[in-house]
Subunit: 358 residues, 5 copies
């Protein structure tokens, strides 16, 4: 029942890098096999207006408003090219968007910023992390997001925009850009917390009743912590660059928000590093726990064997058919035999007690 | 009896980050469940005056005096907002105060400094560290402290203020700010010392009589040292920044005090790092100690078995009912049998002695 | 069957550094024994022309065209010297080209750039990495490449040049220089991916059925990951220098391409580092898996022995020939014997069940 | 006999930090319990004069001469205060002198330099390091040294001063300051060398005859190396600062001497780090050595058991009283029995030989 | 036979630092005991002249020629002082030359450069590294070299000078200085290669037939790699300083040579680091290999015991003399007995096969 979710996941590994034999800058999808339809959404708003439509309507883009274009699916190259030509995106950037094995990074182009980030959500059923690459592009009036597939962690942001909760409707696209990144980071906290709880349970399991697959679970934890680490370390760097580079696209009052996001990254990193150490310690506890059990079994065997082996030898002697064994003529021979057995038995028992083996 | 305090603590893990789905800057409590009343205290003093009242009396704030407002409990958002608006605190800062899973840090705002710090006290009964997040705000005339709950390590400071011990009454709010941080650091020393003593005991236990849970205790120690490390490393950074940034809020003659606090941080860090190494070494000692015990038991088993197995075989032979066994006709057959047994016994004993297995 | 490819390869270790006793700058081949003929190829192109010939035709070099001279085999010192004198290459550089144990590096000379790089291809049959040192020299109009032997990963580039695929025909020699490096990096991805898959299989093998050579396979993986690491770490540095040094030989529009290559290096480095950690974890899983199996066997032995040893002793007693054993006169003695055996048997079984050893 | 010196020392841990509840800058002794009298010594010299007196005679301080005041014992606060007021020392500095759990450090005050350093001498009898904190204060004309107790490593310096050996009498107080530090560093070399020799012996012991406490000895070594490391790493930093800060108190011609001391620090650090690695390797050797011994014992048990178990069964069969056992009627049954035993015996022996278990 | 060369060498540890109680700058020999005669050699050359004499002839020093003075043996302080006064060498430098436990370093004095370096040659017979400290002093016209004893790796350089091979005769003393360092570095390659081959053999030995001393060999390898590391790391630093400091003593055209030497240092460092990792992995392979062997032995014991223990019990029963055992009256009792034995035997065998223990 518990077994299946212990198999180490492989789905994150793309089957083949089909673009290896392509010229650089060729836009070709690299990632898990996907054939589904690409869906998209256009959300336009300012302090007074709001509209939300399915599909990408690039012609509705208006200045002095926030234009959010969201694409779910980057395996359809045509859409990438359409958006790329509208916003004059570099062809190497489009290649990066289509390659979902990317490392998180920030790139500053004259009039837009490109942010690659890993959206991670915790799958409690399989104790796995679902990872999706999100590419965000910030221009003066628009935010364009590319996801690998439908479903994301941005529902609360859509809700805040629609219902004017918080300050989001009164500020510009850089704040939306921040809010999306912030929401992704917030979900890292949830993933880290879940791994922490699993770690606690595993520690208890190993202490109370070590299982054959306990260390495999620890190995799986290690992989998940590595996965988080590979998502969050470069993100910290990215946000640090967003803070340092003085891009006109990010207003100065948004800086405090990115500083806050930066703090959160460090907090997650420290927790991940702690968990890695605790996880590594499980191995020692496991070996200790298993060897303790082994020792107890060995002790019983030793004691049983050590006590009965000489007794059995004694019984063997008086089962011999040799002639003229004097003990055969003794009157209380049988009683003496039992007395001898008792003496041997209690001497050995005492010896083991004295050695503290019992 | 000893068992309960070996369970690894979990209380520091907040149940859920309820602010995940809130807009950034929303002040919402994140931490252990707390519902109790929030208590507070206002201490006002200068060289000649002193007053101490329960409750927050922001209207009594006077220039050229030190005004210390202390709040025990950050789950009551209303109080945070009241103080925040009086001192014009940034809403992201208030969010940080209410989030007690914060990493220690210093933030410089124009006319105030924010210091987040972990107050740690050692709980001898459960061999645990009680941790409480303290937020300090230093303005020109006031220090505001926010704690998670009632009880702290500041009693000696209150006493020094009330009874004019030391120089505290003659100096400004920056010195109070320092004195509070200093007192927290002093208690780190106590925690480190206690862990060191526990480490000594554990080392002895493992050498003399390794227990099933010895390595679990080491794992618990590791967690405690990690906890201290996560409190003290960022604090060192913070104090370093307090020394480097030339804020007008901190007078130059207070610098020597912060330098002293900085030295203490490094001293604690080095001790913690040493203890981590010593703690890691316990594992090897444990395995060695356990395998030594195991080996001794195995030796006894081996010697008993190896000696009696051939003897028992010999006895078995003369218990056979086969016809015409020549030994059956020998006169001193039984004596010869015992001589043979003796020869086998002492040969094997000699062999083991020679092999140094005995 | 699987065994042979587990032997750790040694062929990468040159037999002897014959140049140790030579004056510095003496060009002498250092590497695997090679005696075969050196082959070469000259490809010349611009937007409108294309020619490809076997052999090196240095006299055909023309300005304002891209001239690619490729040499397969650096053990023929004469060819090195001929090219060296044509392009005025430093004699220490020629020594480096002939020494195939070189570390990847970039060197800037006034009018040419020297890039040493390791070309790696994955050999699936032996689970090995085939490594070949490639030296690239970029001048204003030419790229000269030196390989150790025939065969490379540049076929797709030759194809792109011949068939004008991509932008390669319309740009200068710096782009060809980049394209060759890019193709080598692309093949690192393939190698890393294959090692990742092998790692997954090994993890399964260790969990399900640990083999004698499982850890040897892990050790071999470790060596391969080390090999990749030694190729890719210095390459990252190299590309970083290519980006920073503002050489006139590399046009500014090619910078974006090198930045992309740089990103790929970091991506490979991170994957390699992750795999190294996962690989290291296999050892713990192995020990756990093996000790689990051992424990199960020990338990069976313990239980069999512990149960039958007292029973055998009992049977031994009633095989004795001592006189006046009262049990011999009892009517249902044999039945009582079996009842006693049953009681002992089930008591011990219950004891083991209670101890959770069964 | 060997046992006592293996107990890990605890005396370096102060019983309680009594100054925790004191205001900062309160001078209170922190260290091992000490109640003895404080002794002191005043040595005054220049190229032509020399005087040496017991006790501190601050009034005899003369310019253009070197005045060395040495205090053995810092638990007498009165003396600290007397000297402190004479030389106008900062009260936080006096607090540091009285706190012997200090980390080595250098502090530059306008007209004096404070150097805290650990004086370490090797105690061969207990294989321990005796550590004493020495505080040095360098002023233009004086060097003041504070030790924890009587006895130091400065005898050769006193001798050189008294007998005008070397250049010490012809130079100023900065050279005395250097000479004292140099002598302390020289004794680190002795300690490191002794630990190295102990390491060699331990390596031999573990290989030839691993003991129960062998790994405890390695753990003790680890603690000693950690202790040295905590003394020498900050000292290197200190000397580096002495070289970099261009204090008027240290003449330029003394720089070469401090550079030499700096080199020695690095040399000690490298040796300590090497020894730490070698020490860590002892653990593997120990486990290997112990498991080798265990294996040999197991082999004997296995062979004895495996050979005699079937033989004993055979003997058991012909001890049965079942009717009509055909072998009972055979003429040479007993000879056949021995032949069968021989066949079994030699077959199994051959099997073990073939398996290379014998 | 193999055994002796596994003993860990100790000869590199000097018996006592006799200079500990000397004033700084006192020239006193620190190193292995040496009493032999000090030999020396003077080689003078320029493009047209060459002379070579035994002994040091400082008066023959001529400008515009390269003067190489080589001293074998630094335990004769008189020679050091004679050369020191001729070239005005600092007394701390002379102290360093006489102290052969020095760390490699470069020191720039106004008109000469001091280079300390470890000359290492591989001793194949004992699988040891012979290490000798070489001090080089470069002045405008001369190179002075101090070795610990007779014999070095400079024969090929003497040969090149004598026979005008390479460019050495046409260039100045800085090139000789380089050539000597280069030759020492070249011999590091040989040492590293030999350790690599030993590592391969050891890996095979551990896999095929792990020995008691296999891990000791790995420990010895570790020590040798540490020794190399301590020689090469500071040397890389040194050469880097030679390149950066713009000393007039080193001509600009020699820079390319030092850059080449620097590359070689890095190459050696990387190989050493790889070997350290591979060497560390041997431990896991060893434990795995040994536990595999142990498991196989345990399995045989388990199977033999588990099968024969119940059979022996069965035989014991029918050897009892209890009255009225019904089986005694059965006609084919003996045949039934053998059938029962067969059933037990094959059931257990089947069970073990099913469990995959056989
Ligand atoms: Mg490509
Ligand atoms: Mg890319
Ligand atoms: Mg999605
Ligand atoms: Mg957030
Ligand atoms: Mg937890
Ligand atoms: Mg903030
Ligand atoms: Mg939020
Ligand atoms: Mg925050
Ligand atoms: Mg509190
Ligand atoms: Mg303090
Ligand atoms: Mg302690
Ligand atoms: Mg201080
Ligand atoms: Mg050479
Ligand atoms: Mg080279
Ligand atoms: Mg090739
Ligand atoms: Mg590419
Ligand atoms: Mg994988
Ligand atoms: Mg790019
Ligand atoms: Mg074991
Ligand atoms: Mg205090
Ligand atoms: Mg202090
Ligand atoms: Mg003293
Ligand atoms: Mg010295
Ligand atoms: Mg040694
Ligand atoms: Mg020096
Ligand atoms: Mg000295
Ligand atoms: Mg020196
Ligand atoms: Mg020599
Ligand atoms: Mg060379
Ligand atoms: Mg090799
Ligand atoms: Mg070069």
């Amino acid at each position: 029942m518990r077994k299946p979710n212990i198999r180490l996941r492989r789905k994150a590994t793309p089957k083949s890098r089909t673009n290896v034999f392509q010229p650089p800058g060729t836009i070709s999808y690299v990632g898990e096999d996907r054939t589904g339809e690409v869906s998209a959404e256009t959300i336009l708003y300012d302090e007074t207006h709001f509209s939300k439509q399915n599909g990408i309507f690039l012609d509705q883009l208006k200045e002095n408003r926030v234009n959010w274009f969201n694409v779910d699916g980057v395996h359809d190259i045509a859409i990438l090219e359409k958006i790329g030509s509208k916003f004059h995106l570099h062809h190497l950037l489009l290649e990066d968007i289509a390659n979902t094995t990317q490392r998180p990074k920030t790139e500053f182009y004259g009039n837009y910023i490109y942010q690659c980030i890993k959206m991670i959500s915790y799958d409690a059923e399989n104790h796995e992390l679902n990872e999706e690459q999100v590419s965000l592009i910030l221009t003066e009036d628009a935010v364009i997001t590319f996801q690998e597939k439908t479903g994301d962690v941005f529902e609360n942001i859509r809700d805040r925009i629609e219902n004017s909760r918080g300050r989001i409707r009164s500020v510009k696209s850089d704040y939306l850009f921040y809010a999306l990144i912030d929401s992704i980071i917030d979900h890292y906290f949830i993933a880290v917390e879940q791994i922490g709880e699993y770690l606690d349970q595993l520690e208890d399991e190993i202490f109370d009743n070590p299982q054959k697959d306990s260390l495999n679970k620890a190995q799986k934890n290690k992989r998940m912590l590595l996965q988080l680490r590979r998502a969050i370390f470069p993100l910290r760097e990215s946000i640090s660059r967003l803070l340092k580079e003085d891009s006109a696209l990010i207003e100065s009052k948004t800086h405090a928000y990115f500083q806050d996001a930066y703090d959160h990254c460090i907090q997650i990193i420290e927790t991940v590093e702690s968990y890695r150490e605790i996880n590594a310690g499980l191995r020692d506890m496991y070996l200790s726990s298993v060897s303790h059990k082994m020792n107890q079994i060995m002790q019983v065997l030793t004691i049983m064997s050590s006590i009965f082996i000489p007794l059995t030898f004694l019984a063997g002697i008086y089962g011999m058919n040799l002639p003229d064994m004097p003990e055969m003529g003794w009157e209380n021979a049988y009683s003496y035999f039992w007395i001898a057995c008792g003496v041997i038995f209690f001497s050995l028992l005492g010896f083991f007690k004295w050695k503290k083996w019992l």
